[in-house]
């Protein structure tokens, strides 16, 4: 299970995580993935780069809890979540959620719920680098 939940500094491979999830069951008929990436504009301000900080230990626990609740509350077979921390350049991937189910709708719903829940409950913070300095983001859509 540990490879299915991770907070790491370096980049991740979408293909690798999807393969990890897929090999957990031959009953999987649908894989839905969400990838969050660093964009160069935030509220009309040019962003040069991003930095993420997390609460080591608690953040991992919250991601494991999201996976556990997704498996309980949705008709899915498996879920994996990876979030990067440290510096992230514009265009790089930040977060990846993979939900697997027998049929597509359950995986779509679980994936959407999981990213919303991650933003709500996981102690991870984003700082945006702008032309005038670094700004901690306090609200996310």
């Amino acid at each position: 299970m540990s490879t299915l939940i991770a907070i790491q500094e370096g980049p991740f491979s979408v293909d690798t995580l999807q393969a990890e999830v897929k090999k957990t069951s031959k009953g999987i008929g649908a894989l839905v993935s969400f990838t969050g990436t660093g964009r160069d504009l935030s509220k009309g301000v040019d962003i040069k780069g991003l930095d993420f900080e997390h609460y080591p230990g608690m953040a991992e626990k919250k991601l494991m809890d999201i996976r556990k609740r997704a498996l309980l509350n949705f008709d899915i077979i498996e879920m994996a979540i990876i979030h990067r921390v440290g510096h992230i350049d514009i265009g790089e991937d930040i977060v990846l959620i993979v939900a697997a189910s027998a049929h597509r709708n359950d995986a779509f719903m679980a994936c959407e719920w999981a990213i919303t829940e991650l933003k709500r409950t996981t102690p991870i913070w984003k700082s945006e680098t702008t032309a005038t300095g670094d700004v901690w983001v306090t609200d996310t859509p």
Partner: protein, 82 residues
């Protein structure tokens, strides 16, 4: 000893990543906030705004929960992961 950890903008505001407080008996989260405000006035406004969540031993905690010797408290500004 209660260890209080600061993250993101609170680390910058407090000027440190962590601070330890000696308590003779368990105190509530609200009492700890008061102690923090007296010790670090720069945190007063943000602690009063209620936008900061508190964790005790990596679980979210309400203002009336008790904090005791050996506990680790996290002061958590609004999350912005994802």
């Amino acid at each position: 000893m209660i260890e209080v950890r600061f993250f993101a903008m609170l680390k910058k505001l407090s000027g440190t990543g962590a601070r330890q407080y000696e308590v003779s008996e368990p105190i509530t989260v609200l009492e700890l906030k008061q102690l923090l405000k007296e010790d670090m006035p720069a945190l007063s406004e943000v602690l009063d705004s209620r936008s900061v969540l508190v964790s005790v031993n990596e679980e979210f905690a309400r203002d009336d929960e008790l904090v005791a010797d050996g506990d680790v408290v996290g002061l958590l500004p609004p999350f912005s992961g994802g």
